[in-house]
């Protein structure tokens, strides 16, 4: 480690001069390039996952009719543009798999983790640059494997992203053969990629912080990524194991999850959700960190209760291991066990509430600048509150018995994952774009994208709570087959139209990113007048991150509007004579 760091400090820039195209853009070991690669991969996958969502929404509003413009899709995937049931099942399976494993995780952990960790802790690169490169390319292979399942006989996996056994364990139950196998292999490979990334993040954050960057001077986004990396390291192997067993059941004739040979279907659910609930926090913690940084910066105020914010994330990380059973209240698990999971689940709401109150406290008596990044971060808070509160109904076991497996759950997860994670992603992209690409994004276009997304998001997902209350099951292909769901047909149509607007609005973000890359105003070193270390180097930063020596840190990351200086910000690396005593 120390020798790596020494090389990084002294020799790194000279070495990188001769790197050609391939080593700079494709097989790069530079954490900033790898971060951008994760971003591009995720945006590409998002377009596919989004398309799946649009097709599903068409089917739910106008069941068994032909989707306009999709007549060219070959049978048996579609019939002259009409979606058959198994294709519908494949679509929601792939939508969720892609969005969770290949969009939200790669952007939040892969992109922001890689790009921000060295820059914000004052390191010249990650601890293991080669491992970092390998992590991206293994992840890309996993993506290719997953997408290739669209082209095998039987189509892609159709057992849901949760892949409950025995449905997923026996090919004839879904009619999908190699599609499901490829799904398993893809997630196993992706697990390896995540492990490499998380080991790298943990090592880097522990060992490579610059002088004066104590743990309680880390920006909250780094705290969140550190905790996320630990969760990834511990949770992913459980999923990998479970999927390996599933693959043995499918290909090797074992019966881990098949009762016909003495296996236990619920074992799959226990293993899956033991991974699955930490996974939920893996996808929200970095967004919380991003929101904290953006809100403090644009409120021009220290984050309210910095230590409480860090402790709340640590508490969430611990509690996330003992709540998995709340996905299984009606699965046949012992009801007494259900009661204890209800209690732990209620308690995990507490640290999330603490964070929300602290974000509000940060706004209080601030001097709030409404940039596009700030608007997205504020939307994150507002939407996360709704997603968090709707979780209380699900935590309550008797109520969950009614709303489990309905659109109430779909509404909840999208308020957390879209309203939460993706608004966090939007905030992060608009905030750090100048540092990543050296250009400012177009603010007006950013705000138009924000408003259309914000309104159509709520029109899409809020009414889903009502569908759930009416008893609308998830994962059904034609709700009009049920008499008791007849009254809510108009709501389904309204949701679908809103969803189409929501989907189309994302092209504005893409257009803004592309246009700004070529035509945006050149970004200065510190366009937002922020305090953290990434803003002390040119945009985009050179190889080795700082042209001169690595900055030294004298204070915490959120000293905005400090009485010590006339300006309303005070960078972590800025030396003030009389503040030395306080810093030490």
């Amino acid at each position: 480690m120390s020798s790596t760091a020494a090389v990084a400090v002294h020799g790194v820039r000279a070495e990188h001069h001769e790197l050609g195209f391939w080593r700079t853009y494709i097989f790069s070991e530079d954490h900033k390039m790898i971060g951008r690669q994760f971003l591009f991969m995720a945006l590409f996958m998002m377009s596919i996952g989004g398309l799946m969502a649009m097709l599903m929404r068409w089917e739910l509003a106008f069941p068994e009719t032909q989707v306009p413009g999709f007549h060219w899709v070959p049978e048996p995937f579609m019939y002259d543009g009409a979606i058959p049931p198994n294709t519908y099942n494949a679509m929601f399976t792939m939508h969720a798999t892609i969005m969770i494993f290949f969009v939200v995780m790669p952007i939040l952990v892969g992109c922001f983790g890689n790009f921000l960790i060295p820059l914000m802790i004052g390191a010249r690169d990650m601890a293991f640059p080669k491992l970092n490169m390998l992590s991206f390319w293994v992840g890309a292979v996993a993506g290719v494997i997953l997408l290739s399942s669209f082209f095998v006989t039987g189509g892609p996996a159709a057992a849901g992203w949760t892949s409950y056994a025995p449905l997923s364990a026996v090919p004839i139950y879904t009619g999908v053969d190699w599609g499901q196998n490829l799904w398993c292999i893809s997630i196993i490979v992706l697990g390896a990629s995540s492990l490499m990334g998380s080991i790298n993040y943990i090592t880097t954050i522990i060992n490579m912080r610059t002088r004066g960057m104590y743990f309680f001077r880390l920006p909250l986004v780094i705290w969140s990524l550190f905790i996320t990396a630990i969760l990834l390291l511990l949770a992913l192997p459980v999923l990998t194991t479970a999927i390996a067993l599933l693959l043995f059941d499918r290909l090797g004739g074992t019966h881990f999850f098949l009762p016909s040979g003495g296996g236990e279907p619920l074992l799959w659910q226990h293993l899956f959700w033991f991974f699955g609930h930490p996974e939920v926090y893996i996808m929200i913690l970095p967004a919380m960190g991003i929101a904290s940084d953006v809100i403090a910066t644009f409120s021009r105020k220290p984050i309210f209760g910095y230590r409480a914010m860090a402790y709340a994330m640590i508490a969430i990380a611990f509690l996330s291991w003992i709540v998995w059973g709340h996905h299984m209240f009606v699965s046949g698990m012992d009801p007494v066990l259900g009661s204890s999971f209800m209690l732990t689940t209620m308690i995990i709401g507490v640290p999330s509430a603490i964070k929300t109150f602290n974000w509000l406290g940060t706004l209080y008596k601030g001097n709030i600048h409404y940039t596009a990044a700030m608007m997205n971060a504020l939307a994150f808070v507002a939407m996360f509150v709704i997603g968090g509160l709707s979780g209380i109904w699900m935590a309550c076991t008797p109520v969950d018995m009614y709303i489990h497996d309905t659109y109430f759950i779909v509404a909840h997860i999208h308020y957390v994952l879209f309203g939460g994670s993706l608004f966090g992603v939007f905030a992060g992209i608009t905030y750090w774009y100048p540092k990543m690409f050296g250009r400012m994004m177009n603010e007006a276009l950013g705000k138009i994208h924000f408003w259309i997304t914000f309104v159509s998001f709520n029109c899409t997902f809020f009414p889903m709570h009502i569908l759930g209350m009416a008893g609308h099951m998830r994962r059904i292909y034609n709700p009009q087959q049920y008499d008791f769901l007849k009254p809510i047909i108009p709501i389904n149509e309204f949701i679908s139209i809103s969803a189409f607007v929501l989907g189309a609005a994302q092209f504005l973000l893409l257009a803004n990113m592309i246009w700004s890359y070529f035509k945006g105003a050149e970004a200065s070193e510190n366009p937002w007048h922020a305090n953290t270390l990434e803003w002390t180097t040119p945009s985009p930063p050179p190889h080795g991150n700082w042209p001169g020596p690595v900055p030294i840190v004298y204070r915490g990351p959120y000293e905005y509007s400090s009485p010590e200086v006339a300006e309303d910000f005070l960078p972590q690396s800025q030396l003030i004579e009389h503040s030395m005593d306080k810093a030490n």
């Binding site: 139950y173 879904t174 009801p335 308690i347 507490v350 709707s390 109904w393 009614y402 998830r474 008791f484």
Partner: protein, 231 residues
């Protein structure tokens, strides 16, 4: 209130308790949500950036942290204990049964087994039909729930009842209908390409109508061949 939120009309004895908890959480959530939103919007308007102003340097407040942590924890823990008794009533110790059936999920139908003249399941005179579940009103119905192939979920929206049917396990569920009528009970766990549209018909009848229907069924049982062999 819940009817306005499209809740299906409740016809079970424990449904009102579940709906009451739903409403209780609804009001708690509404109060918290509105309070948070008002605070947020007021702060956003009042503390918007104006030239020449500087934000106030506030790092936090330990007393506030303690207050909102304990208040949130207290509300949530009390809610958990309040829910606990309803859950135990429904799931752990239900009343003794009046009528007994076996319900078996299979791709993509529900098999309903009636116990026959002897009133006992698992004997020769059991009669199995597909998707037609008839029960007497105001009687406790106890069901042995299982599945032949994949996991299905036995869901009666009007009863607020849901329980997964798991192959290799027999899970006991019970309900008591309070009104006669025709209702649907769909499968609510993804079970394959025929999942959508997999549903049974629940008929709640008066005791006389039910007895008559059952007598007819036992006199003319459907051919047993169908449904006996899963794939």
């Amino acid at each position: 209130m819940l009817e306005y939120l499209y809740f299906p009309h409740d016809i079970s004895t424990y449904g009102p308790k579940i709906d009451w908890l739903f409403e209780l959480i609804f009001w708690i959530v509404m109060v918290v949500w509105i309070a948070v939103m008002i605070a947020m919007v007021v702060f956003m308007i009042r503390y918007r950036a104006r030239p020449g102003r500087k934000a106030e340097y506030i790092e936090g407040n330990s007393r506030l942290e303690i207050i909102w942590t304990t208040a949130t924890a207290a509300i949530l823990v009390v809610l958990a204990f309040m829910s606990r008794s309803t859950w135990a009533d429904i799931k752990e110790h239900g009343p003794p049964g009046d009528v007994f059936y076996a319900v078996t999920g299979k791709q993509f139908n529900w098999e309903i087994t009636y116990p026959g003249y002897d009133g006992k399941l698992g004997t020769k005179d059991d009669v199995t039909v597909e998707n037609e579940l008839h029960v007497p009103v105001n009687k406790v119905v106890r069901i042995d729930l299982t599945s032949k192939d994949v996991i299905h979920s036995f869901y009666i929206p009007n009863m607020r009842l849901r329980q997964d049917a798991v192959p290799g396990r027999i899970i006991h569920v019970w309900f008591e209908a309070t009104e006669t009528g025709q209702y649907e009970f769909p499968c609510s766990q993804l079970c394959g390409f025929g999942h959508s549209g997999m549903k049974g018909n629940l008929t709640v009848q008066s005791q006389e109508d039910f007895d008559k229907w059952l007598k007819d069924l036992y006199a003319n049982p459907p051919a047993p061949a169908e449904g006996a062999s899963p794939k």
